[in-house]
């Protein structure tokens, strides 16, 4: 059985990677949504202006 002292940093690294990647992806989706929401606002106001 591999020693726990040797394994611990590896275990820690593995779970850190999982958390960082999942959080990173979630944040990137959130950022994309925010940017698109801004674009939508902008275009909607442009459409409205043109309609008047």
């Amino acid at each position: 059985m591999p020693s726990a002292a040797k394994a611990l940093p590896y275990l820690f690294a593995a779970y850190t990677v999982i958390w960082v990647v999942v959080f990173g992806y979630t944040l990137s989706i959130g950022a994309r949504q925010r940017k698109l929401a801004q674009d939508l606002e902008l275009i909607k106001s442009a459409v409205e202006k043109r309609a008047n």
Partner: protein
Amino acid sequence: MPQQKPATRPSAGLRPGRGGLGSIAVITFILIAVAQYMIFMYVPDDATLGLIQRIFYFHVASAWNALLAFGVVFVASILYLAKGERRYDALAYSSAEIGVLFTSLVLITGPIWGKISWNQWWTWDPRLTTTLILWFIYVAYLLIRMAADEPEKRARFAAVFGILGFIDVPIVFFSIRWWRTIHPVVISWQGAAMEKSMLQTMIVSFVAFSFLFVYLLINRLRVEAMQDEVAQLKERLQGTR
């Protein structure tokens, strides 16, 4: 001022209410936190593999999510070719991206485990190797989407490849397995019978990751829906010019 008619949403069916998504987010977070607690505090060390075996729970759950995601790509691709509706294309694309994400996690955590329990980062084990090929197939899927420029053509080509790739996966797996029996697998992992607490932790991890998949997928789909809306409004803006 005349009342402006609200813009029709091109893929309104894709957009779940904010409230529903919020509760999924909360449930997902709690479940993952519970799974994480069980992995570090509740389960005992594995009798033969020791501490490092605790990687197993999220590693296998990631693999499950990847398979789930690629299954969704397959079904959505067939539905797209049959019905030609944009929402199936959006579903296939979103799911493929998430699948590649989880496959990457499997490929990163696998060698971390291997370094400790087999004393080498990589072995050409059938499961590990098939996962690597799986990753290549779905990265190829994403590359096709980038390379085809017209949206309709992009969707059609991607759907065709999404079907082809999924059919290929079992053939790849079995050919690699037979290949490895010719070159005997030097190191193998004995699937010891799981203890009850381990099984519980595994199940909680699976459920937590399934929720995570659904949460990411819905959010990713919303990005697609918003992009469609922007594109449609832009077109209208140009039309009135």
